[in-house]
């Protein structure tokens, strides 16, 4: 685990809350997120992870509180300005039109181009590098409607990489990928963080989250229940209270945690690691 020195918060969240028809989906979220970090956002389904990412991206307006990007209120930034700062990769997308893979990745350059400006060599390079880094350059002659779910996901990630933003938000992007591709994508995310970007990744796989993230945010029922290093957030107590799972937690040899749930029929679980 790397000790991060204090840096100016790139994303600052104060008192953030969002209500939908039946009540608050998110409430009282306070966060300071700085560059050069890979932050994992974990929590059970329905905890509000996607909503939080959506609010950070300005796709929805909060009911309460505010988000500040590099010190400026999110609402005050134009769409394009925001798009040059934050990129979001969604969970999955059905695309019924025969767009070429390279063309989809090239859309990541739109925020950097004037309305009628054609992409320049710098843009084309960014697209190519992004495709190589995510392993989709092999698919560059295909159209997006012929790809499998996992391939499509990697193309969308390439698009966000080509966008070259200081902040990258990933919404459960490893959900449809083979293990090898999951590791590839998470490795790429980690490299981007080491390179100085802020990567916030909503993840459902706690073991992988513990392996790849420096810091975890635990969302439970719309509130931030824990914020800190992996070992402080993924505790047997938290697992029981917020995931409803009794488990024991051990350190894995290469780093990260091994979570061993107690199944009915096992003996009594040891009291934590």
């Amino acid at each position: 685990m790397v000790d991060q020195p204090m840096r100016a918060p790139l994303l600052q969240v104060r008192g953030l809350g969002k209500d939908f028809g039946r009540g608050p989906v998110l409430d009282a979220i306070d966060l300071d997120l700085g560059p050069g970090a890979m932050v994992g956002l974990v929590g059970p389904n329905g905890a509000g992870k996607t909503t939080l990412l959506s609010l950070l991206m300005g796709l929805q307006r909060p009911t309460r509180g505010e988000v500040r990007v590099a010190g400026r209120a999110l609402q005050s930034l134009s769409r394009r300005r925001l798009a040059r700062t934050i990129a979001l990769v969604p969970q999955d997308l059905e695309i019924g039109f025969a767009f070429g893979v390279r063309e989809v990745v090239a859309m990541g350059r739109y925020p950097h181009l004037g309305r009628f400006q054609a992409p320049g060599s710098a843009d084309l390079d960014a697209v190519q590098q992004a495709m190589v880094a995510t392993g989709v350059d092999a698919l560059s002659d295909r159209t997006i409607d012929t790809l499998s779910g996992g391939e499509r996901q990697r193309v969308l990630i390439a698009r966000a990489v080509a966008q070259q933003t200081p902040v990258v938000l990933l919404d459960e992007v490893t959900a449809n990928l083979d293990l090898s591709h999951q590791l590839e994508v998470l490795g790429l995310a980690r490299a981007m963080a080491a390179d100085g970007r802020l990567v916030v990744a909503a993840m459902h796989d706690l073991a992988l989250a513990s392996r790849y993230c420096d810091r975890l945010l635990l969302l439970g029922q719309g509130r931030l229940r824990a914020d800190g290093p992996v070992g402080a957030v993924l505790t047997p107590d938290h697992l029981l209270r917020f995931f409803g799972v009794e488990a024991s937690i051990d350190m894995a040899p290469g780093g990260g945690l091994v979570i061993t749930p107690r199944l009915p029929g096992d003996g009594a679980a040891p009291p934590g690691a």
């Binding site: 979001l88 969604p90 997308l93 019924g96 039109f97 025969a98 767009f99 739109y110 966000a160």
Partner: protein, 343 residues
């Protein structure tokens, strides 16, 4: 590169075919007019202003040319509207009638005919049609928007509801009108779409909307491309989704209203032509939009030509021809799509 050449040639080919179709359109009709007559009619006004035009020139200038031009413009307007709406709604089944705007224009026109205004004042019918279209658009948009958000699904449903309402009201007016057979007949024929008796007044009415609409849509091809990935992803790459959608909805409403105001209820052009273009030239809106305009013009001019060649004796409305050709073609597209998917 081979791909670019292929697509450029699609433009050139469509333009040539359109010119040929328009030429044929001018030369076709009950009065026999040949290429010589046409050349003289076009050239003489330029050469000497005193020379009295022959009857052929009158027919060409006052009857055929406006008709062919309007066919081209209406086809272009409907096809571009369809292409834009299919991109906005990410749905290849969207068409200008999906927001109820076409039926709103129709209702306005029907009311104008019913109240006898269309007979007295040339501008009355188009004006009523416009009002009907815009009122419907505002109603649909207003119903579907809450707190600055206009969910696409709600927009579509509101459009369908408005369309149903407009059609019901039109039928109601028609039922009332049938007591006076002339008025009823007028309404029925108008609803089925046609270009009989269209004049330069109609051309002048339609032209600014067509040109303005086409120019405006060509500001947004990148946004439309980005919107194909969904609104969240489009916003993620910097597209102002709310504003883009509002502007484009307005533009398609105006294009559709103008087309319907002039030519009545002509269907399937807005639905089928963009598909054809996508098959030929791909889904990029920078090509799709202008090419749809060209092909839409070509399709409608050809349909009108076919009408005047083979059905000159009967008064078959143009809308019937486009439906008769369009529906089977649409079915063919669906089956092809289904066949591809089952592989």
């Amino acid at each position: 590169m081979a791909k670019t050449d292929g697509r450029r040639s699609a433009f050139v080919l469509s333009a040539i075919l359109l010119a040929a179709a328009m030429l044929a359109g001018v030369l076709t009709g009950p009065a026999a007019i040949g290429v010589g007559d046409l050349t003289r009619a076009l050239v003489q006004p330029l050469l000497s202003s005193e020379h009295l035009p022959g009857w052929q020139a009158v027919v060409i200038w006052q009857v055929r040319l406006p008709r062919v031009l309007i066919a081209a413009m209406v086809g272009a307007a409907l096809a571009v509207s369809g292409a834009v709406l299919q991109g906005l709604f990410r749905n290849p089944l969207a068409s200008p009638s999906v927001l109820g705007v076409a039926s709103g224009a129709s209702l306005g026109a029907v009311l104008a005919i019913f109240f006898g205004l269309a007979a007295t004042e040339v501008w009355a019918l188009p004006l009523f049609a416009f009002c009907g279209a815009l009122l419907t658009l505002f109603a649909v948009y207003g119903i579907a928007t809450r707190g600055g958000h206009t969910p696409v699904a709600t927009l579509l449903l509101a459009g369908i509801a408005a369309g149903a309402f407009n059609v019901a009201m039109s039928s109601f007016v028609l039922a009332l009108a049938l007591e006076n057979w002339d008025v009823g007949k007028s309404i029925v024929y108008w609803t089925m779409g046609g270009l009989e008796g269209r004049t330069w007044d109609h051309v002048l009415l339609l032209a600014p909307f067509l040109v303005g609409g086409l120019v405006l849509t060509m500001v947004y091809p990148r946004d439309l491309d980005a919107l194909l990935l969904g609104e969240a992803q489009a916003a993620s790459v910097g597209v102002d989704v709310a504003r883009t959608r509002l502007v484009l909805l307005l533009v398609t409403a105006l294009l559709t209203a103008a087309a319907v105001a002039v030519a009545g209820g002509i269907g399937f052009v807005g639905l089928v032509v963009p598909h054809m273009v996508r098959l030929l030239a791909g889904p990029h809106h920078r090509r799709l939009l202008p090419l749809s305009a060209l092909m839409g013009a070509l399709v409608l001019v050809t349909a009108d030509l076919a009408l005047r060649t083979w059905f000159a004796a009967n008064e078959i409305p143009l809308g019937v021809v486009t439906a008769a050709l369009g529906a089977p073609f649409f079915l063919f597209l669906l089956l092809r799509q289904r066949g591809l998917m089952s592989l």
